[in-house]
């Protein structure tokens, strides 16, 4: 009944992404909007289908509602298949009780049955934290050629940043001889991208062993990979060059959005041979009104622009009224920037209204801090939100009451 698949992808999408603060209050990090019409999870999902992988398990745990709804039957990514396709895999109750996913490895362990139904040769472990385009079929080819047990995608990072990553030290053939998690004195600059391709049997063996190891953190980086290295298994690094960005913090999310701008953007979304797919609402084209000024911006469907937009990324259904200014900002779905208001160096979550003459965010002399306004906040006319401040609806109400009392 189940058609055999060469490779099944497992996408870890259960993380909270707590460093995105109010943006992940109600949604898991992979469902965070990015780049005008996407969500973070569109990137690994599109990579899968563009690489010929049509069976993807999405492991959810934290606030899965928006994510479940978004993935739906997988149709936008061509993952609505009669055999395979995309499947959401939440933690479940079994004969021996119910358990949350304790760690990345445990999440996969709990879904070994799902994987084995397709009898795959390889299992690709992905995370929903990064913006990148990658053809996984090249990774699979390299894995086969080297008869590896595990192949880990790595990217060359500047040596001064290497201590923020898991570093893979390899021999001349690319075989991993040592793995260091966030080393103080990195020996190389091969940073793990959190993309692991396992031969199925090796994965099963080590997951079961790890599950039976008391005190294990059940984590791929901390437990599985070191254990395999210890046993002299064949682990290889697969070098990736190209755009790859972690969007786990407010600053990096803002930076990654800014990377889409410019004459030759650092990250180009207009690649027709490697499209990024997304679930889009049926909205009319955007309208740029008379007297508006739009420079260096990414703008999508359903927007009405009558004011000034510069160096910004605007999601669908955004209105910028005449006399309003949006600069160096990320404005998510359905926001309205009223006349005379200014939004700069900021991220507005969806359905935010910025009242007349209000000012959100400011330019900093030193390190640029990004102001964040949470879902559904109505910024009062004339109010100002300073650089780096963050508000959700409750916090914003509190701030205003505080102001009145003072």
């Amino acid at each position: 009944m189940f058609k055999r698949k060469e490779c099944v992808a497992m996408l870890l999408a259960g993380g909270q992404g707590s460093r995105l603060y109010t943006l992940t209050e109600k949604t898991a990090k992979p469902a965070v909007p990015f780049g005008g019409k996407y969500r973070i999870i569109d990137f690994p999902l599109s990579n899968c289908i563009n690489s010929g992988i049509d069976t993807v398990g999405v492991l959810t745990q934290y606030q899965p509602l928006a994510l479940n709804e978004y993935i739906g039957n997988g149709q936008p990514w061509d993952l609505d298949r009669s055999s395979g396709g995309v499947m959401v895999l939440p933690p479940y109750q079994g004969k021996d009780g119910a358990a949350w996913y304790k760690g990345t490895a445990n999440a996969i362990y709990q879904n070994l049955t799902f994987i084995e139904r397709y009898d795959p040769d390889y299992v690709l472990i992905l995370s929903g934290d990064h913006i990148y385009k990658m053809d996984y079929s090249a990774l699979i080819a390299a894995h086969k050629e080297r008869e590896a047990d595990c192949t880990i995608a790595v990217i060359d990072v500047p040596i001064e940043e290497a201590s923020r990553f898991g570093i893979m030290n390899t021999d001349a053939d690319g075989r991993i001889i040592e793995f260091e998690e966030k080393p103080k004195n990195p020996k190389s600059t091969n940073a793990s991208m959190g993309i692991y391709l396992f031969s199925r049997d090796a994965l099963r063996e080590y997951l079961i062993r790890d599950e039976n190891t008391p005190g294990s953190a059940n984590d791929f980086g901390k437990n599985i990979i070191p254990a395999m290295l210890n046993d002299g298994k064949r682990l290889f690094a697969y070098g990736f060059s190209g755009y790859w960005k972690d969007v786990g913090t407010i600053k990096s999310l803002w930076d990654a959005n800014m990377d889409l701008l410019g004459e030759e953007p650092t990250y180009n979304l207009h690649d027709r041979w490697f499209r990024i797919y997304s679930r889009t609402p049926a909205l009319p084209p955007h309208f740029i009104g008379e007297g508006s000024s739009v420079h260096n911006a990414v703008i999508t469907e359903g927007n009405n622009i009558y004011g000034t937009v510069e160096n910004s990324v605007l999601f669908s259904g955004v209105t910028v009224e005449a006399g309003a200014t949006v600069r160096d900002a990320v404005i998510m779905q359905g926001c309205t920037i009223k006349s005379g208001a200014t939004v700069q160096y900021a991220i507005l979550d969806s359905e935010v209204v910025v009242g007349e003459g209000a000012v959100v965010g400011e330019k900093c002399d030193g390190e640029q801090l990004i102001a964040v306004v949470g879902n559904g906040v109505h910024v009062l006319p004339g109010d100002s939100i300073a650089a780096g401040e963050m508000y959700n609806v409750a916090e914003y109400e509190k701030k205003n009451q505080g102001g009145e009392n003072a």
């Binding site: 149709q75 004459e263 499209r275 909205l283 309208f287 007297g291 739009v294």
Partner: protein, 378 residues
């Protein structure tokens, strides 16, 4: 919904021959990211009709590519959904070894499909009229009145030039049709109700009419069926109050397109109805990209565009590129038009994949926009 839909894709092809050389009227691009068929199709879907047939005649490749499985309209169904009725041998409906020419002949050729439908009512719609109409309300009115045919009409001012382009419908105080003036060369009233080619018909009446038409060799639905039934059958009008545009010529096409830019009420009426969105094929283009040298005003821009130059009063479909130093004014550029550097365009309609090399200058006139055919390189 107890209704099925039939859309005529070719009937008005000759109206805008420049744009229908290689496509049906139904698949003519309109409104920055839509095709004309999206309007009747979305109207039907938004009213709960999920069994829709599109009658084609010729040139229907682009239409088939646009519709695909119908999933973008939520019409990829096990039961019902959307299907294209291409002509086959019985399409020689008038027994003269010719393909059908009229609406009635087209319907006769798909008589078998109509007889197999489950619905009590059939909604017929053409593709030359652009509107966002609540068909649910119209079908309800049809059902409640017990009429066999309800014809949507729009009240418009009549001028000497537009009378003969229209079918003028007269009705009594109960809304019952009393007369039909089919393309009259002279009409003496200042305003009149005109047929907008959206009809609700009871299926049993339609099947009876088709049998009759075959027996008597009728060819015109309005002349032979409706006019002969006046006074014998209950036929009513349904006055449509919203925005309606009829594409009758390339100038019409251009003017109605420009109206989308000039008039925000029109845009609002057509597109901003949360309950009745106009749906279209999803192309998964990236959002539009404006560079630092972009200067855009009063324009509709679709996703996938890259703008480095100046764009004014124009409509840019998906995937258009406007290079540095180029100026695009009062123009409509279809999908994937490539405008090089220092190009100047004014009152131009560029069909798909047109390539304007650097330094080209081209201008039409608002009354006579310059059409560049699909795939031309200038």
């Amino acid at each position: 919904m107890n209704a099925a839909g039939i859309i005529f894709s070719n009937i008005h092809d000759k109206n805008i021959a420049d744009l229908t050389k290689k496509r049906t009227m139904a698949s003519v691009p309109f409104g920055c990211r839509y095709r004309l068929v999206d309007f009747p199709l979305s109207n039907m879907v938004n009213s709960g009709i999920t069994d829709i047939s599109i009658i084609t005649h010729y040139n229907y490749l682009s239409l088939m590519e646009h519709i695909g499985s119908g999933k973008d309209w939520d019409l990829a169904r096990r039961s019902g959904g959307v299907r294209i009725l291409a002509p086959y041998i019985t399409a020689y409906a008038n027994y003269k070894n010719e393909l059908y020419n009229t609406r009635l002949e087209a319907l006769m050729s798909v008589q078998h499909s109509i007889s197999k439908m489950q619905a009590d009512y059939v909604v017929l719609s053409d593709c030359d009229g652009i509107c966002n109409i609540d068909l649910k309300d119209m079908i309800r009115a049809h059902e409640e009145s017990g009429a066999v045919l309800t014809m949507a009409v729009k009240r418009i001012p009549i001028t000497p030039t537009n009378a003969e382009k229209n079918i003028i419908v007269s009705s009594d105080e109960n809304g019952e049709i009393t007369d039909l003036a089919v393309h009259p060369t002279f009409y003496d009233k200042a305003v009149a109700d005109v047929n907008i080619n959206v009809w609700v018909i009871s299926r049993s009446f339609l099947l009876g009419a088709l049998v009759n038409a075959q027996a008597h060799g009728y060819t015109s639905f309005s002349q032979d069926i409706i006019r002969r039934s006046i006074g014998r059958e209950k036929m009513r009008i349904y006055r449509f109050e919203g925005y309606y545009a009829n594409i009758d010529s390339i100038t019409d096409y251009y003017n109605y397109s420009m109206e989308l830019i000039r008039n925000s009420t029109v845009r609002h009426d057509l597109f901003d109805n949360a309950k009745r969105p106009i749906l279209t094929k999803v192309r998964n283009s990236a959002p539009a990209q404006y560079t630092g040298s972009a200067k855009v005003s009063n324009s509709l821009v679709a996703d996938g565009c890259i703008i480095e130059g100046t764009v004014e009063n124009s409509i840019l479909f998906r995937g258009v590129k406007v290079g540095k130093g180029s100026v695009v004014r009062n123009s409509i550029l279809f999908m994937d038009t490539y405008v090089g550097e220092n190009v100047s365009l004014n009152c131009v309609i560029a069909d798909k994949y047109v390539l304007f090399h650097d330094d080209v200058t081209l201008s039409g006139h608002p009354e006579l926009p310059f059409c560049v055919e699909k795939g031309r390189s200038l």
